[in-house]
Amino acid sequence: MPLSETDLEAIVLTLELATVTTLILFLVGTPIAWWLSRTRSRWKGPIGAVVALPLVLPPSVLGFYLLVTLGPNGPVGWLTQTLGIGLLPFTFWGLVVGSVLYSLPFMVQPVQNAFEAIGERPLEAAATLRASPLDRFFTVALPLSLPGFVTAGILTFAHTVGEFGVVLMIGGNIPGVTRVASVQIYDYVEALEYGEAHRLAAVLLVFSFLVLLALYSWRPDHTRK
């Protein structure tokens, strides 16, 4: 049986959310990962712990804090209203903010590990070959940590697809705006519409498996002998 229109809408929305989240996290997570991998600051521990928090926090807790912080009485809500953006809860970009925070460790940790695995030596070699710090980052650090970036990107994407609790808390379940596939499945289960739930869940399951299969099968070129 084909998927219904609302299911397709939820899937498209989910993929959009995961794509935007992953792209933003590449931009946001990479500098954090770089800093964590290179710093000797005493802030390394605390910042690393904050980045890892979403791994431990129940999504509903994170979602509730977001609802309060992004709301009209919260600091971020005040800021977005002052800037004329309006309030973020119940909007697509609100979900993006939530997903970025929730998936942050899935981006930062693999990339940080990859950066750490490079060591100082290739960067020192590049420095003696006249490469400036930024140059070294883009021509040596990034290519050498490509496997870490691929892992991080896929994990972030997949994790966002599977995200539920945060979306539930700040989404408001608006069709086409914040009703993603995981919420749709939840609704089906809660409404005892197990057949529909199975179908949509199967699509997610197959998708996730394929993504992870790609991840576990992929090897970068220069690690082959």
Binding site: R121, E124, A125, T128, R130, A131, D221
Partner: protein, 365 residues
């Protein structure tokens, strides 16, 4: 006016390690930084390269300030080439891209556009290190020796004004070392820039160094022209198991019949086994103190080929109480001889005395 050479005043203090050096290093030739591991030689080299940010002090190169209290020239703006112990090639680039990495950037920065500075074209470096056949390969598919040759060529391709080499042969086995040493000797003859060469291997130092800086526990023990240091009687500096000197000369004559070469060294001549070197080639020979004996008269009826007049400069003690080391002047070059105290007394050796030395073995390096 700019003073040529490297002025390095560096202090580093880490837990369990301190480096405190104030040295002027020559602006030409190969200067070996020699010492045990942990003596601070690599740290000193890294300070000069700007790779140790924690170091305090002053670094000047030919009068140009690279570091002092108010200046810090970052590594990528210092006109250096650096060869690491383990080549450190970029695994994601081919050999050619590795070589071009620094070359492109040094040209873009205007360094090396000056004809005087562009001593090393990429082609020259490739030819000098014999790596033309490797250009399309990836570092992972190269042998250790090949990798190190690419590493050296890569450092040369930036047309450095100072070449820093950190134990470039230490990670290689003996066969690979023998593969690369000739290339380094070619460099030595070919390069017109100063080279700082960190090593703890006596054979490398004997073959390559013009100047020697001996380091121990973060301090400079002795520093000066190679032979001046090696012939000092007051310092327990040995290249290998025995005291001895290294002399530079040129191949002057070939004796085809007996397969010998005559090496002209200052105003003296020494016969050595024919190594295949061409007449006029630079030749470096090593004379160990234990192979030198002293007599009042030139001996005849002996198997020893090399007998030379010499003047006693000074006498000192060797490690064993029976032995003494005699420092002699042979046509302007210092040579060490090891004799027993008894022989020294019987011969009546004293500074200023003229004697004849017989050299049992001369090694052409």
């Amino acid at each position: 006016m700019a003073k040529p050479g490297i002025q390095a005043r560096v202090r580093v203090q880490w837990p369990g390690f301190a480096l405190d050096v104030d040295e002027r290093l020559p602006g030409l030739g190969v200067t070996a930084l020699f010492g045990h591991s942990g003596s601070g030689k690599t740290t000193l080299l890294r300070c000069i390269a700007g790779l140790e940010h924690a170091a305090a002090g002053e670094i000047r190169f030919n009068g140009e300030t690279w570091q002092d209290a108010s200046t810090w020239v970052p590594t990528h703006r210092r006109p250096i080439g650096y060869v690491f112990q383990e080549a450190s090639l970029f695994p994601h680039l081919t050999v050619l891209s590795n070589l071009r990495y620094g070359q492109k950037r040094s040209q873009a920065k205007g360094q090396g556009q000056d004809a005087r500075e562009a001593r090393f074209s990429l082609e020259h470096a490739i030819e000098l290190l014999g790596i033309g056949h490797l250009l399309k390969r990836r570092p992972a598919s190269l042998s250790g020796g090949e990798r190190q040759r690419v590493g050296i060529a890569r450092a040369l391709a930036v047309s450095p004004r100072l070449l820093l080499m950190d134990e470039p042969l230490a990670a290689l086995d003996l066969a690979r070392k023998q593969e690369i040493l000739p290339y380094l000797e070619r460099l030595h003859d070919d390069l017109e820039i100063p080279v700082l060469y960190v090593s703890h291997a006596p054979d490398e130092v004997a073959r390559l160094a013009d100047h020697l800086v001996v380091m121990d526990a973060g301090r400079v023990l002795a520093s000066g022209p190679l032979n001046q240091i090696l012939s000092r009687l007051d310092l327990p500096i040995r290249l290998g198991e025995d005291a001895g000197v290294v002399l530079d000369g040129r191949v002057a004559e070939r004796d085809e019949r007996w397969h010998l070469l005559r090496v002209a060294c200052c105003s003296a001549s020494l016969w050595v086994r024919d190594s295949g070197a061409a007449i006029g080639d630079h030749a470096r020979i090593r004379i160990l103190a234990r192979d030198v004996s002293i007599a009042h008269e030139p001996k005849t009826g002996t198997s020893i080929l090399n007998t030379l007049p010499a003047r006693v400069l000074s006498l000192g003690n060797d490690a064993h109480p029976a032995l003494s080391l005699v420092k002699l002047d042979v046509a302007g070059s210092p040579v060490l001889a090891r004799v027993t105290h008894r022989s020294a007394e019987q011969l009546g050796l004293a500074p200023g005395m003229t004697v004849w030395i017989q050299i049992k073995a001369v090694a052409l390096l």
